[in-house]
């Protein structure tokens, strides 16, 4: 409890001392680059509103918005039913942008991009596939001379939205994974070594021959890393791209639940990249301060009209049109 009180105190201090409407948020680190860009641009066009965002992690974001410590939260994995029920402040999920997770590897002497079946990825992390020359890998990669070397699986040791998306995908494609490991921001990895952050995993993979890991698409692209293609639900091997991610979101849009808490990993559709996910803002449905709620709703409107167009430049995938229309209706209910 004390931590929250201290956090509240710090945020209050930040809030005091300016005439502008201050809105404080906290949560996910994955969308932080685009959020900070949005918030600073929005403050320039609307000087009366100042939005402060602290990227303390999804877990912290959920905790703080549930306690009412901050005005909004942000998360990479949707809140569970239990968390929604326990929250002191009732919140709704608003999807903002989409991201993807890609498999990376280090195979000296192999220059071609590799294909990975989804169940193969699960079995590598389950410790069932231990050699690069395993027939199940070679079957997907005809013509590639794969070495008879042990695979070193590398995973994220810190709790992260990336791990949530990745393990959510593995749980869907491998029944064995679903029962033995499950999905969460951090899980009990059956094998492999853990490294902190995308940069930790990427660094380990880059310098360890015969290793295999997973990082966010935005990280792989900005660092010019080569990554593998993953077989999607329609059986097509697809390399991650913002287009593939948006396709996955569009495929899911038809069955989008009203509260947006949907997992779009392994989404149907020939062009859907299978390891994709929304990232969400957590907005209180009934704010104690109507002026703040209004300012927040105005920002969300701005995000749909202007913000989404900037997503691709930062290699986030923008929301598909159908989802944008749904979100516009939801914003109107914010009080």
């Amino acid at each position: 409890m004390n931590l929250k009180v201290i956090a509240a105190g710090v945020l209050t201090l930040v809030a005091v001392g300016a005439n502008a409407q201050n809105i404080n948020g906290a949560g996910a680190t994955f969308p932080y680059p685009i959020y900070s860009k949005w918030f600073s641009e929005y403050s320039q066009t609307n000087p009366s509103v100042k939005i402060n965002y602290q990227s303390i992690g999804s877990g912290g974001g959920i905790r703080q918005v549930s306690e009412g410590t901050v005005d909004f939260g942000a998360t990479d994995g949707p809140m569970t039913d239990q968390q929604l029920k326990d929250a002191k402040v009732k919140v709704m999920h608003i999807p903002t942008v989409l991201g993807a997770v890609v498999p990376v590897y280090n195979l000296p002497g192999v220059n071609k991009d590799l294909n990975f079946s989804s169940d193969v990825i699960a079995d590598i992390y389950l410790g069932k596939i231990t050699k690069w020359s395993d027939p199940r890998i070679t079957k997907d990669n005809p013509g590639v001379n794969l070495p008879d070397k042990s695979i070193l699986p590398v995973y994220r040791s810190d709790g992260s939205g990336t791990t949530f998306i990745f393990t959510d995908f593995l749980s869907k494609v491998s029944p064995d994974w679903a029962t033995k490991v499950g999905h969460s921001t951090s899980v009990k990895w059956p094998t492999g070594i853990g490294q902190k952050g995308n940069e930790g995993v990427a660094g380990m993979v880059r310098q360890s021959p015969y290793s295999f890991g997973y990082v966010e698409l935005i990280y792989a692209e900005t660092n010019k890393m080569s990554f593998g293609a993953v077989r999607n639900a329609s059986g097509k091997f697809l390399k991650a791209s913002t287009a593939g991610v948006t396709a996955a979101a569009s495929a899911a849009a038809k069955t989008m639940p009203a509260d947006y808490r949907v997992s779009i990993t392994n989404a149907p559709g020939a062009d859907s990249y299978p390891i994709s996910s929304f990232t969400w803002l957590l907005i209180p449905t009934h704010s104690t301060d109507p002026a703040k709620a209004k300012a927040l709703a105005d920002f969300l409107g701005w995000m749909l009209d202007h913000g989404e167009n900037e997503a691709a430049a930062l290699t986030y995938a923008p929301l598909p049109k159908q989802v944008q229309d749904m979100v516009r209706k939801s914003i109107a209910t914010v009080k």
């Binding site: 905790r63 499950g182 310098q207 360890s208």
Partner: protein, 357 residues
């Protein structure tokens, strides 16, 4: 500076010393003029002119007592907060928490044993590597080093202590890990593979790499403290041993090391304290896999690392509570290890006669 500050007090207390020269008791009759005739030293002048220090003494003692007690208060406060925030996990797992190997955030099953093992194993291994090296550095610096070399070497050891741990971690990732994977690891498994400590695949990260980076990090602390302690041994001790016909090594062993052994143990304990709590550098090279394995090539996990890794994204009250109980475990491990070290020192030094060995 002190004289200006004392001005008001000097005025109020001036009547006090005045009577002494006027009616000196017989015994002081000779002394008083002698004092008056010599030029007063500033200290004596100040001490004779200020008033009674009782109030100042008492309040000074009280303030110092508060300072001393604050240490207890801080320790108790930390302990209390840790217990309070981990009560959910304490109630759920009880003592089993410290003896089980599970760490599964998905199913909510938590145990601290692999982390306790990782913390103790890396710290003790680091001590085994760092202490002989640190003693060597200290002995060389105090007893054997040519004067022009002394300052640069001391400066460099102290500089090592000032490097932030994340820099050590980066260095370990880019230098130590490949070195371990390609050179040290294969050599160890070839020469010492029969012990069973160097079995299994060697990826360069793991318990041994973490211990090595820890050893490098605690080396400057232990060596610079040990050097200071050895410098404090009076030269008369050295001369006495040499005069009895000892060689230089015997002089170091009997005259210096034996005299400074308590201080050296203290220095080692400070190093151990840093090793137990070190987070960043260890996290970067230990492999972060909660397993208890005999092989030192295997990845491990430490108490401090798991808190740093998982705290920010810990959703769920039990998960958070278990992580705070990990903090409690680290707190207790530190206390127990320190207590054991103190007991060992006490057992060794109690009634220890002067011996050659």
């Amino acid at each position: 500076m002190s004289s200006t500050r004392m001005t008001p007090e000097r005025e109020t207390s001036s009547p006090l010393p005045v009577p002494t020269p006027v009616s000196p008791p017989a015994a002081f009759a000779d002394m008083a003029p002698a004092v008056a005739s010599t030029t007063l030293s500033p200290i004596r002048d100040y001490l004779s002119k200020r008033g009674s220090g009782r109030l100042a003494d008492d309040s000074f003692a009280a303030v110092m007592l508060i300072c001393a007690c604050s240490i207890f208060a801080i320790v108790l406060f930390i302990f209390g907060i840790l217990i309070m925030h981990s009560r959910l996990s304490l109630a759920q797992f009880g003592w089993k928490f410290f003896t089980t190997q599970a760490w599964d955030p998905v199913s909510g099953d938590f145990g601290a044993l692999p982390f306790i093992y990782g913390t103790l194993a890396t710290s003790l291994l680091a001590l085994c590597m760092a202490v002989p090296l640190a003693l060597g550095v200290a002995i060389f610096l105090t007893e054997l080093c040519p004067r022009p070399l002394r300052a640069p070497i001391s400066f460099l050891t102290e500089l090592l202590a000032a490097i932030p741990s994340v820099v050590y971690g980066l260095w370990a990732v880019f230098v130590l890990v490949p070195l371990m994977r390609d050179v040290i690891g294969p050599f160890l498994s070839k020469t010492l593979g029969w012990t069973g400590f160097f079995d299994g695949p060697n990826f360069g990260v793991g318990l041994l790499t973490a211990s090595m980076i820890l050893a490098i990090m605690i080396l400057p602390i232990i060596s610079s403290l040990t050097r200071d302690i050895m410098t404090a041994v009076p030269n008369s001790q050295r001369e006495a041993v040499l005069a009895l016909g000892a060689t230089r090594w015997e002089m170091i062993r009997v005259g210096v090391l034996r005299n400074s052994r308590i201080g050296i143990v203290g220095a080692v304990m400070l190093g151990l304290g840093r090793a137990l709590g070190e987070t960043m550098a260890v996290t970067m090279v230990i492999g972060n896999h909660p397993d208890i394995s005999k092989s030192l090539f295997a990845p491990g996990y430490t108490l401090a690392s798991v808190i740093a890794n998982e705290f920010s994204e810990a959703t769920g009250d039990l998960y958070l509570s278990a992580l705070i109980e990990i903090g409690l475990a680290l707190f207790l491990v530190t206390i127990v290890v320190n207590a054991i070290a103190r007991l060992m020192v006490w057992a060794v030094t109690r009634n220890a006669p002067a011996r050659v060995i």
